[in-house]
């Protein structure tokens, strides 16, 4: 197991985000189109990484609900870029051996005759390593 200090430094490094800049206005979560799907919301990702409380995030499906729409990045009044924090935690999770969220075996159940290649490559890029 990793201690919280290591985890926090690693997530900060991967994301390149300074979570201390957050002024807790909640605009990122207010504008998030995946808000209803998430157990932990974008502002909580920022706050919990800042305080080192990261294990609950690593174990939450919230990691896989972010749409990468960059709304929170553009609308944050402090330039914190919360989506980069979500992405860093997700990468930390899926980079572990055997932790891929999706495999090639899942594809037949996903595709229909109109499925654009873009959907599959995007999902694999986000859910696997």
């Amino acid at each position: 197991m990793h201690n919280n200090r290591y985890l926090r430094d690693e997530i900060i490094r991967i994301s390149g985000v300074n979570t201390a800049k957050c002024m807790k206005c909640g605009k990122c979560s207010a504008t998030c189109p995946a808000y209803d799907e998430m157990e932990y919301h974008p502002h909580q990702f920022v706050n919990m990484v800042e305080s080192g409380d990261i294990t609950p995030l690593l174990n939450s499906d919230s990691l896989y609900k972010c749409l990468s729409c960059f709304a929170c990045i553009d609308r944050c009044p402090r330039g914190v870029e919360p989506a980069k924090v979500v992405e860093a935690v997700r990468l930390f999770a899926v980079r572990k051996q055997g932790a891929n969220r999706m495999t090639a075996n899942d594809v037949p159940a996903i595709v229909d005759e109109d499925t654009p290649q873009q959907l599959l490559v995007s999902a694999f890029r986000k859910y696997t390593k």
Binding site: R13, I14, S15, G16, P33, A34, D36, E37, Y64, K65, L67, S68, C69, F70, A71, I73, D74, E81, A83, K84, E87, A88, L91, R101, M102, D106, I110, D112, D114, T115, P116, Q117, Q118, L119, V121, S122, A123, R125, K126, Y127
Partner: protein, 262 residues
């Protein structure tokens, strides 16, 4: 004018219309799209982590190719455009990342020198909407068309620099140049759900339906998009007005559209 053209994976398969009409329309406007040799898939979405290097090499190779030919790199798919522009920005602004990338490059290093245009930007900035207007042979007068930007065309604005991210006009100006009426609605720059249709189809349905409902309430008879995944999500989740690629509309207005099964 000649440009280096990056079509992307979907335009060679499920979105052949987007590709075909891009070529035909460009040709009618005096622009030659020269497909980049041996281009590779951009990966569909940009990974913001600085330590992700290998996944960004295909974009860098395409950018380097265009730079070495001294041509602008033009993409038409929203996703390719987003990934390639974000990668180029990272090459310009993040020296550590650029150094890591350049270790993979066989010859000269690349540091973000290429210019990246979305096809719409090419129309606005290189061709000009006034010139486009003059070339229209089938005016779309009277049609009420809603532009759907989605998320990828405009954001993150610091990198994309395409238009005002909250009050964009480029697609509306495009629609007006073709003679049609542009329908402006609130959800035009909100996400359709994207790849979430794999993980949470309900989430994609809610997001997509909200866009279509909002466009229709504003009087739209048709929605145009540059993104194959937006089109798929909107249609799969029951859009009851046509969702078409902007290049198809362009080809129709320029009189170069032909029937295809793509």
């Amino acid at each position: 004018m000649k440009v280096s053209y990056f079509p992307g994976c979907t335009l060679k398969n499920k979105a052949k219309d987007l590709d075909l009409y891009s070529y035909k329309s460009a040709s009618a406007l005096g622009v030659t799209l020269e497909e980049i040799e041996n281009w590779q898939c951009c990966g569909g979405v940009f990974t913001s982590a600085d330590d992700e290097v290998a996944t960004k090499l295909s974009s860098v190779r395409a950018l380097k190719y265009a730079f070495e030919r001294n041509e602008p790199l033009v993409t038409v798919c929203s996703a390719c455009h987003n990934v390639i522009k974000q990668t180029n920005y990272a090459m310009q602004t993040n020296k550590t990342f650029a150094d890591k990338v350049n270790r993979y490059m066989a010859e000269d290093s690349y540091n973000g020198e290429a210019e990246v245009y979305h096809y719409l930007e090419m129309l606005r900035d290189l061709v000009g909407f006034d010139t486009l207007k003059e070339k229209v042979v089938n005016s779309l007068k009277g049609k009420k068309i809603a532009a759907y930007y989605g998320c990828l065309l405009l954001r993150p604005n610091k990198v994309m620099r395409m238009d005002d991210p909250e009050n964009p006009t480029i697609m509306e100006d495009f629609i007006r140049a073709l003679g049609a009426d542009a329908v402006v609605y609130a959800k035009r720059n909100e996400c359709c759900g994207g790849y979430i249709s794999v993980e949470s189809p309900d989430s994609a349905r809610r997001n997509s339906n909200a866009v279509v409902k909002n466009a229709k309430a504003a009087g739209a008879e048709m929605i145009i998009t540059a993104c194959p995944l937006c089109k798929y999500n909107l249609e799969k989740n029951g859009a009851d007005i046509p969702v078409v690629y902007f290049t198809e509309l362009l080809a129709e207005a320029l009189g170069v559209k032909e029937d295809t099964n793509a």
